[in-house]
C-alpha cells in the first residue's frame, strides 16, 4: 500500500516527519573564491591541485574535507551517521569513493551528473522519513580540470570555448540531514524524469538541461498545488544564461510565470563578464557549493524562508555521445523551508 499522504503525485513526495539540515560545508576552488559568493564559503583552496599530485586526487580531497567539516559543524560523530550519499562526475564516482573511503560509514554512491546534490538530499530525506536513518550525510562535488580532462580536451590545448559553454565549478558541498535538531527543513521532493530534447552540442549543456528543469518544475507546482511566488527563491543548478532563458520561455508556455524569484546557481557563483565563464558555472559542485555556502546561510539568517532547489544534470556518456547520440538530461527539485 502506498501512503497517499506521502505521495502527492507521480513525481512528488511530501516529507512528513521533520528532516532538518543541521549543518553544511562549502569548499571551493580559487576561481570560485574570487567570485561573488566568496564570503559564504567555509574554505577556499588557494591551489587547484589542493596540495595533491593530480586533479583527481585533489577532487577526492575536496570531498573528504567537505564531509569532515559538515560533520564537525553538526556536532555529530562518525558513529551517529547512518548513511552517506555522494556522487560526482568522474568515472565510477571516483571523486566520492576515493575521498570518502576512510569514513567507515555505510555508503550509497549515486550518479545524476550535475543534479547529484539534489538526488542525494532527496534520497537522504526519504531514508529519514521512512524511519531507516536518523542522520544522513549528503554531498556532491566536481573539479574543473578533471572534468575537462574526462569530458573534453586537454587544458593546454589551444581551443576556443563558444559563448554557450559553461565552466565546471571546483569544490564540494556537504550537508548533514537529521531527524532532530535545528535548521531549515526538507519538506517536499519532486524527482525528475529523464528528458531528451535532442540536443547534441556538448558545448551547450544549458540547452540540453532546460527541458528537464522545465518538466520537473511544472510537475512540482502541479502536484503540490503551490504557486511560483510560494518560494522566495527558485534556483536551478547549472543552466547558465542560455538554459535559463529557455527555461523561462517553456515555463511560460505552461503558465508558470516567475517574477524575480527565479535564478540559477551557475549565474550566482561566477561573474560571467569579469571571470570569463561564458554562459555560467556548472558541475556537481555548482549547486552543492552554492546551496551549502550561500542559500543555507540565507535561510538560517532568515533572509529567505523558502527555497526550491533544482540541481540539473546532463547525462553525458562520452563513448555514447561519440556514437552520435543526443544528450539526455535530468533535474530534481527539493523544497527547503524555515519554520
Amino acid at each position: 500500500m502506498i501512503n497517499m499522504q506521502k505521495r502527492l503525485g507521480k513525481h512528488t513526495v511530501n516529507i512528513e516527519k521533520p528532516v532538518y539540515i543541521i549543518s553544511t560545508a562549502a569548499l571551493a576552488g580559487k576561481k570560485e573564491g574570487e567570485g561573488p559568493l566568496k564570503d559564504y564559503f567555509d574554505y577556499i583552496a588557494d591551489d587547484i591541485m589542493f596540495g595533491e599530485k593530480s586533479w583527481e586526487k585533489a577532487e577526492s580531497k575536496f570531498f573528504k574535507k567537505a564531509f569532515d567539516m559538515a560533520l564537525k559543524k553538526s556536532g555529530k560523530t562518525y558513529n551517529d551517521i547512518d548513511y552517506m550519499l555522494s556522487g560526482d562526475l568522474l568515472n565510477q564516482c571516483g571523486g566520492s569513493t576515493f575521498g570518502l573511503r576512510d569514513f567507515k560509514i555505510p555508503f550509497l554512491g549515486i550518479y545524476g551528473a550535475c543534479s547529484t546534490f539534489g538526488e542525494a538530499i532527496s534520497i537522504g530525506s526519504m531514508l529519514i522519513d521512512g524511519g531507516f536513518a536518523q542522520n544522513v550525510l549528503c554531498g556532491a562535488g566536481s573539479h574543473f580540470c578533471s572534468a575537462e580532462k574526462q569530458f573534453r580536451f586537454p587544458l593546454e590545448l589551444g581551443t576556443q570555448r563558444p559563448p554557450t559553454a559553461t565552466w565546471t565549478v571546483t569544490g564540494a558541498g556537504a550537508v548533514v540531514l537529521s531527524s532532530k535538531g535545528k535548521g531549515p527543513k526538507v519538506t517536499c521532493i519532486t524527482t525528475g524524469k529523464i528528458i531528451d530534447m535532442g540536443i547534441k552540442d556538448a558545448a551547450n549543456m544549458g540547452a540540453a538541461m532546460a527541458g528537464a528543469a522545465c518538466d520537473v518544475i511544472s510537475a512540482h507546482f502541479k502536484e503540490t498545488g503551490r504557486k511560483p511566488d510560494y518560494y522566495d527563491v527558485v534556483a536551478t543548478g547549472d543552466l547558465g544564461e542560455v538554459g535559463k532563458a529557455l527555461l523561462k520561455k517553456y515555463l511560460a508556455e505552461e503558465n508558470i510565470i516567475f517574477k524575480n524569484n527565479i535564478t540559477d546557481c551557475g549565474l550566482e557563483i561566477f561573474d560571467n563578464e569579469k571571470q570569463d565563464t561564458h554562459s555560467g558555472g556548472s558541475g556537481c559542485a555548482c549547486s552543492a557549493v552554492t546551496f551549502s555556502g550561500y542559500y543555507y546561510k540565507q535561510l538560517t539568517q532568515n533572509k529567505i524562508k523558502r527555497i526550491l532547489l533544482i540541481p540539473t544534470g546532463a547525462l553525458i556518456n562520452t563513448d555514447i555521445s561519440q556514437q552520435g547520440e543526443t544528450i539526455p538530461s535530468i533535474a530534481h527539485a527539493v523544497a527547503i523551508e524555515m519554520e
Binding site: 575537462e148 580536451f153 590545448l157
Partner: protein, 117 residues
C-alpha cells in the same frame, strides 16, 4: 614582399579554419585532419604547388603544408622507385617533423606540470 605574401596566405588559410570551427562546430581535431587531407589531395592534383610558389612559408607552416609535404614526398618516391614508393614516400618526407614533435612532446611532459586554464 615575400613576408607579406606569407602573411596573407597563412592568414587566409587560418580564416578558412576559423569559419569551419564557428559555423560547423567541428572540433580542432577534425579541422586538423581535414586540413592535412585537403593539403595532400591539392598537392597530388598539383594545385598546392601554386599556393606554395606564391605564399612560401604561408603555405608550408599551416597543416595543409604538412599534407602537401606528404604528397610531394610520395610523388617523388614513386617517380624514383616505382609503385612501392606509394607506401614509403609520404612518411619518409614527413619523418623529421613527426619525430621532432614526438621528442618535444615527451620532453615537455617530463619537464612541465599540468596547469589550470
Amino acid at each position: 614582399m615575400e613576408y607579406l605574401k606569407a602573411f596573407i596566405t597563412g592568414g587566409i588559410i587560418c580564416i578558412i579554419g576559423q569559419i569551419l570551427i564557428d559555423k560547423t562546430k567541428l572540433t580542432s581535431a577534425r579541422i586538423l585532419v581535414l586540413f592535412v587531407v585537403a593539403g595532400c589531395i591539392l598537392g597530388g592534383l598539383g594545385i598546392y604547388e601554386y599556393i606554395y610558389n606564391f605564399g612560401g612559408s604561408g603555405a608550408t607552416v599551416p597543416l595543409t603544408g604538412f599534407g602537401y609535404l606528404l604528397s610531394k614526398g610520395v610523388i617523388e618516391e614513386v617517380d624514383k622507385i616505382g609503385f612501392l614508393g606509394a607506401f614509403t614516400g609520404g612518411l619518409k618526407a614527413s619523418a623529421g617533423g613527426i619525430s621532432i614533435a614526438v621528442l618535444f612532446s615527451l620532453l615537455a611532459a617530463i619537464i612541465f606540470k599540468p596547469k589550470e586554464k
